[in-house]
Symmetry: C2
Subunit: 138 residues, 2 copies
């Protein structure tokens, strides 16, 4: 299984350790095409590459992926954009979301029939969530 | 001309007065389908409607629109998602972006050939930007 993991970069790196942990979990299910999202060396300024190169490379990875797993706690234009393209392509889209009193998940994400959103309070819940979300039906 | 204006709601309402001013400018060019984005009464919690209703209503408006104008300064999953769908549909997409030293625009937005991004420093620049972006070629 080829997995595209999406998490915020220039929208904010507050959750990067969670991204790193999710990527480690996802690697048990297949090959993660976007491992750099969980890299401590990638800051809010992003990769030192031309934007059109990043866009075209990431879209190509997304096109090849069997599933998009998106961590949607930190608002991010790029993650939203990737979800929009993937929904349009009929890809399986899994959202992971940590609710907080100060915020609500975007209505466009929470209300999209093409996205399966799994809320969680603690990263310790993620192994079980991913097991249910990614394993094939029995 | 039918114009879909996109700006952050649940991602943060810091720029809502700018959205209001952009919507007022856009109404000189056609009908703005999403005037509520510039409404002072819409807070970060969003509209008091079911998410699937909001999603399907907004997508229907986006589908009918001739152009998507997105203010992309505040990171927002919903705005990114709408841009992704609109690019996929071959819609004209105009981005308005206020650069700041602390942030960079998402590589997926800045690097997408289907989006024309116009940076601005002050809202006073927006009338001229929109005149150039929205008027038909001479």
């Amino acid at each position: 299984m080829r997995i595209y993991f999406a998490g915020s970069i220039r929208g904010g790196r507050d959750d990067w350790t969670t991204y790193r942990d999710i990527i480690a979990l996802l690697s048990n299910y297949g090959s993660v095409l976007t491992e750099h999202i969980g890299d401590s060396e990638i800051s809010i300024t992003g990769e030192d590459l031309a934007d059109d190169y990043i866009h075209d490379r990431d879209l190509e990875w997304l096109r090849k992926a069997d599933v998009l797993v998106a961590e949607v706690t930190t608002p991010s234009l790029g993650v939203g954009y990737e979800i929009g393209r993937a929904v349009e392509w009929g890809k399986r889209v899994i959202g992971l979301y940590r609710p907080s009193p100060a915020r609500r998940l975007s209505g466009m994400i929470a209300g999209c029939a093409g996205i399966m959103v799994h809320p969680y309070d603690e990263p310790s819940e993620l192994p079980a969530i991913l097991r249910l979300a990614l394993n094939p039906e029995p």
